[in-house]
């Protein structure tokens, strides 16, 4: 996703000199080409995220389209008030990019895990919150964010994520992508867990359960139509995110559903259960430890639906 982002941004920046990339002294090897090719559209703000963000707002208020770039929580939580007051309140054209969302930085530890960022960004007025599920979405999201006027938060993986979509999918901010049709339950997934969701859907299908899979790359504004369709057409909804269950995708979907006319019979948020990801290991290990690998997601779904026995022999509802 990181590569898809920076290559797309470079392509667009060659054509539009307003586009400026401001980094917080991170992105070794990633931003090098951008810096060398377009030095007048590049700034290294140093290890100073508050200034990076206030600076970006000032540049945006002077007509630039400014991307701030750092990893995990640094461009988000460290400078939260600058994002709120300087970028969002002024509706400034500031695009915040965080690399290594969720637990992508694995063994680097909790300081480098971004697991509350969606909830916190989503609470701010005027900002769009975008967490692509694969490199194709990341590329298309980058273009869409450049075209979108106003602040955006782009939450990306670290790199090496599998490509799931074909290159020319229809992508719009705020519109989810139905990756798999299904009529029994719906998996709503954001920020890189799409492949796990598809594996889960495959296994459920072997057990006679038809699972719809929605890639919700934009958490704000949420695709309310697709979520409400799922609530009407399938009996259970599960949200999947590498993020706290508090306030993120699961929070957004539950807020919508509680106010809706039709609610699913079963609803479960799958994510970190209001805890720090303090175990040590790589991203796959941590996903398994916190129930976000295929087996963990399946176990939660089975428990929620009250299915007993092995999954493959699970009765169809």
């Amino acid at each position: 996703m990181r590569t898809a982002f920076i290559e797309t941004l470079l392509e667009l920046a060659r054509l539009d000199e307003r586009i400026t990339l401001v980094v917080g002294d991170l992105g070794f090897g990633v931003v090098t080409r951008f810096r060398e090719e377009l030095p007048k559209q590049f700034v290294n703000a140093g290890v100073a995220e508050q200034n990076m963000t206030g600076l970006a707002a000032g540049m945006a208020l002077s007509g630039k389209i400014v991307f701030t770039y750092s990893i995990a929580n640094f461009p988000v939580l460290r400078c939260l008030e600058q994002i709120r007051n300087d970028a969002c309140y002024h509706d400034a054209n500031v695009k915040i990019v965080s690399i290594g969302s969720g637990m992508a930085y694995g063994s680097l530890g909790v300081t480098h895990h971004a697991t509350e960022d969606i909830a916190i960004m989503r609470a701010l007025p005027n900002i769009a919150v975008v967490a692509p599920n694969d490199p194709v979405e990341a590329r298309l999201a980058t273009s869409a964010i450049v075209a979108h006027r106003g602040p955006c938060y782009l939450r990306l993986g670290r790199g090496g994520e599998p490509t799931i979509h074909s290159p020319n999918i229809d992508f719009q901010l705020g519109k989810s992508i139905r990756v798999r049709d299904g009529s029994d339950l719906t998996l709503i997934v954001t920020g890189g867990l799409l492949q796990n969701a598809l594996h889960v859907a495959d296994i459920l299908r072997e057990g006679g359960i038809s699972a719809r899979v929605l890639s919700v790359h934009t958490i704000k504004p949420l695709d309310t139509v697709a979520v409400l369709d799922a609530a009407r057409e399938t009996a259970a909804i599960f949200t999947l995110e590498e993020h706290s269950v508090v306030g993120g995708l699961g929070g957004a979907v539950s807020e919508l559903l509680m106010e809706a006319e039709e609610r699913p019979a079963k609803f479960k948020r799958i994510g970190l259960n209001d805890a720090f990801s303090s175990k040590v290991g790589d991203q796959d290990y941590l996903r398994a430890q916190y129930g976000l690998d295929t087996a963990g997601i399946l176990a939660t779904i089975r428990n929620t639906l009250g299915l007993s026995g092995s999954l493959t022999s699970a009765n169809r509802r």
């Binding site: 100073a48 508050q50 200034n51 206030g54 600076l55 000032g58 002077s62 300087d86 002024h90």
Partner: protein, 279 residues
């Protein structure tokens, strides 16, 4: 002839400062609000900026080539609104709505629906970064307008103030001017007691700024100093304006109490009498 012009000019600027104080007193009295002391300490600086230095057009507040001014000490909103109204950015009657339900004039500087306000502030330690971004954008676009930010002394406790202080000289932003209203009093005590800034000018110099220290109540000195920016090519300029909190009303001057106390009743009448005496 020239000296007469000079005298007339400083009389006009002092008159504008007096009007800022008068309007501010009326506003905070009506609103029963705080921060009259911080407004009074920067009255002359604001008067010189808006009366002489800033290239702005009240008839065209969005003019692209305008100088940008950011009041980073957003709690001094009343004085900024006063000078903007006095300069004709919006009607003077709007000042009467300060703090009131449905007003455009919030207690901290707000850009929403308010011509002439560049940036909303109120949380300290934001304005200089935004100003720095504007200065960098102007440089890269080959624009010649200047960006001026007015900070409070207490605000300089914020680490986020020192990030742009480090950044701006590194990027040779000589179109950026930081002015500090050094009135020596912050919320809970004197600056010396709470968090001593000294040697203050040396700190800015050590970070790479070109610094002048002035009497922040002497309109001639403020004007002649700001007329010289940038003090050095390739460096941002810092003006440390030595001021007196509550300046202009004898019983408010240099008093911590008047950071928060609101002038009401007899105190209001006495303050008004003193200001009218000066005007």
């Amino acid at each position: 002839m020239k000296s007469n012009d000079g005298a007339e000019n400083s009389a006009l600027l002092n008159e504008l400062a007096a009007r800022i104080r008068y309007q501010t007193l009326m506003m905070v009295n009506r609103a029963k609000s705080s921060h009259v002391g911080t407004c009074f300490s920067m009255a002359e600086v604001l008067a010189v900026l808006y009366g002489s230095i800033l290239r702005v057009d009240p008839q065209n507040p969005e003019w692209l080539k305008r100088d940008r001014f950011i009041l980073s000490k957003g709690h001094g909103a009343a004085a900024l609104y006063a000078v903007l109204a006095e300069r004709g950015f919006f009607p003077l009657e709007w000042l009467e709505t300060f703090y009131q339900n449905g007003s455009r004039l919030a207690g901290h500087v707000t850009h929403h629906y308010l011509p002439g306000v560049e940036v909303s502030t109120g949380s300290l330690g934001h304005g200089l970064s935004v100003a720095t971004g504007m200065a960098l954008a102007a440089k890269r676009d080959g624009e010649t307008y200047r960006i001026m930010a007015l900070l409070s002394d207490g605000e300089c406790d914020e680490g986020s103030v020192w990030e742009p202080i480090l950044f701006a000289p590194h990027h040779h932003l000589d179109n950026l001017i930081a002015i500090v209203d050094y009135n020596k009093i912050q919320s809970l005590g004197t600056v010396k007691e709470v968090m001593d800034l000294e040697p203050f000018a040396d700190k800015w110099r050590a970070f790479g700024w070109s610094v002048r220290e002035i009497d922040g109540h002497d309109v001639n000195e403020i004007q002649s100093t700001l007329a010289l920016v940038p003090f050095e090519e390739g460096r941002p300029s810092c003006v440390i304006a030595h001021t007196v909190k509550g300046k202009g009303v004898s019983f408010m001057e240099d008093k911590l109490l008047w950071h928060y106390r609101t002038p009401q009743g007899e105190e209001f009448a006495n303050a008004l009498a003193e200001l009218e005496g000066h005007a």
